[in-house]
């Protein structure tokens, strides 16, 4: 009887170990820190660093977009918070926006970030109640970023110089 229990426990432990290995290869953490973040996400205990988030928001409002993104990266290292990813995308939009042209590289990164935000908020519409922003949903932001990436004859319209940043 005792040997049967040992067999069962052994089998259970090794199957759990195998599942851990499969999870490691699926999530591909690059550092031990990322590994712990991924484990927290898997366990449902992941939380962003609110202090860093607020500090990034202050930088964002002062138009220091790159510095804000660095802070948000530290606040949400696993990129698992929809709200943070929305703000990251917004910072790409604001930095890449120009009266005469849009920075394509920054807009592309913005689309990636907003897609992450949409995926993370699956099931409900992501809405951010921030009076400082003119776009409050991820869908609006995504549409704006994608529009900026499209090329058309209307790009040469001189009246476009009168457009405003959202």
């Amino acid at each position: 009887m005792q040997s049967k229990i040992i067999q069962l426990i052994g089998l259970g432990v090794t199957i759990a170990y195998a599942a851990f290995i499969v999870w490691l290869y699926a999530t591909e953490p690059r550092t031990f820190k990322e590994l712990t973040s991924s484990a927290e996400v898997a366990a449902g205990t992941y939380e962003i660093n609110q202090e860093k988030f607020n500090s990034a928001l202050n930088l964002f409002r002062r138009e220091q977009f790159r510095a804000a993104r660095v802070e948000w990266q530290q606040a949400d290292p696993a990129q698992r918070d929809a709200r943070t990813q929305f703000y990251v995308a917004y910072s790409f939009y604001r930095e890449g926006w120009g009266r005469l042209y849009f920075d394509q590289e920054l807009f592309k990164q913005g689309v990636e970030a907003v897609n992450r935000a949409i995926t993370l908020s699956s099931g409900s519409t992501l809405t951010i109640d921030d009076p400082d922003l003119q776009m409050h949903t991820a869908a609006e932001l995504k549409a704006e970023l994608e529009q900026g990436l499209e090329r058309s004859w209307s790009d040469v319209n001189p009246l476009k110089a009168l457009r405003t940043r959202k």
Partner: protein, 228 residues
Amino acid sequence: MDFVVLPFVFLTVALLGGLRVGAESGTFIFIAPPLVTLLLATLLMLLLVRGGLVRLHQWVGSDFPPLTNVAHIWMLITIFFASAQAFNSVLPERGLLHWMFSFFFLWTLWNNQFSSFDARRLLRSLTILFGTAFVLKHLLLASLYSPEGSWLKRVAGALVQGVAFGTFDAPPFAAVTGYIAFFTLALYVGGLILFAFAVNGETTVVIDPVVHDHQQLSAAERPAVIQD
């Protein structure tokens, strides 16, 4: 042993076999086993059965309790993935060298299918096979592609002048990757040795000295001995 230790050893090989450490960033890079390693692992499993290291009839059958059958099948699965990852750890990641190494592994394993093996010879042969591949990849090739440059790089540069080095392109990894690969392969071969003793019990096949001597002769010499 066969329910905890051995699956744990083989699963650790499966974990470490695809682990690399980036040269510049120092971050982990997990490389899932390429399709060809699964093919190589299948051939190796056949070889393990043919060599008597895995005795299927003693392992799985209606005579055993279901739990034992499940545990033994699980052990076979862990050996299979450990084998695939052991190959993964000694295969160059991409380029022409990846396919050259794969071809040589396939060739060796395919030839071995038609050779006579016992468990001990098979273990020896596998140790040599993985040892050679380790030396080639983690010592010679790593030296060839080291960012600092090495004597080997200069010699190879002189020998293959005119051949684009891009053909032999390989991603640079930190030196610790070689240590991980060495530990992985040692664990794999050690696991197989443990397995041979723990699960199969007596692995040494006791044979008559006359038969043994006969086995040492070449194929051409054997008919002459039989005629005498």
